[in-house]
Symmetry: C2
Subunit: 165 residues, 2 copies
Amino acid sequence: MTTTTLDQTDLQLLRLIQKDASLTNKQLGLKLHKAGNTIFNRVERLKEIGYIIGTLTIINREKLGEMLTSFTSIQLKDHSTQSLKNFEQEVVKFTEVMECYHMTGDFDFILKIVVSNMQAYKEFVVNRLANLPDVGTVRSQFVINEAKRELAYTLEMPPFHANGQ
Amino acid sequence: MTTTTLDQTDLQLLRLIQKDASLTNKQLGLKLHKAGNTIFNRVERLKEIGYIIGTLTIINREKLGEMLTSFTSIQLKDHSTQSLKNFEQEVVKFTEVMECYHMTGDFDFILKIVVSNMQAYKEFVVNRLANLPDVGTVRSQFVINEAKRELAYTLEMPPFHANGQ
DNA sequence: CTTTCAAACAGAATTAAATTCTTTAAAGTG
DNA sequence: CACTTTAAAGAATTTAATTCTGTTTGAAAG
């Protein structure tokens, strides 16, 4: 029924809404030289074919009190597929673990951990993180300052297009 | 005029909208046992006093072609305030650098870099990143798999409240 | 070259949500 | 107790979202 490929207008649209979801269809239409209706239809299509996942509100977390952020690297004692899967499955359950990446290099995982202070961090690592099976070395690096945190990707027209994957 | 402190309803509201900005005021009101109107007023207030920064659309970046993500650590040759400021100021200008954190530990900065493939990564590091002043050691760790990436914070009632900071 | 079909679009019509306005009730203050 | 302030609800209004319909365009078919 509908094509799963994007044209330049779709890309422009994605670029705009990934920075600001509060723009109305009319406003977007003005920028892209289309009717508000047309924007609406395109956005619906982009949702259907999976380019748009959802929409969220960015909160100023700093206003809600103390915050300590760490990038914590984990090296497992055992590198079997089972151990890796196991650790990953468990570690993502912690609400303190905002992000978890399986990585190349000396350490197996990088976790972004957000807690309220060093006391809470210590409690978390010692009593909970280190208790997961096969956890070997844990290296903690703390954020002194967040200089940039961009959520919107630079969207480039892919050279191929026609992949609905 | 308006209080800058949050009550439980405000926190609930923030928890809900930081996960889904497409909920209508009426829907939110139903969940929180308030009128749609009341939700509207609260959200307006939360914007005014700076708890709500904005709203954005999450794009499925994977559908737009190849992607290689790296956590790249940088050690500067010189650790003077001036060098740090200088580096930070310049590095955040690169669109490939999605995130930049000033860190404790052996390395001064951690950068989250997103490019389309290893060729582009090499080009970026060699021709651009390494050319910034005072760049010493560069350590690249690549993401094999993203197991978790949560943008919504766990919002807890702060023990103090009354800070409009 | 003409016909046919499908897609993108614009504009009107409709529905639903956002926003404003007014009133009420509760809570705090002197 | 009178006075003020605040949160909230409900009605009224404005604006945006959504649906519907007709037109245009371009590509494919004959």
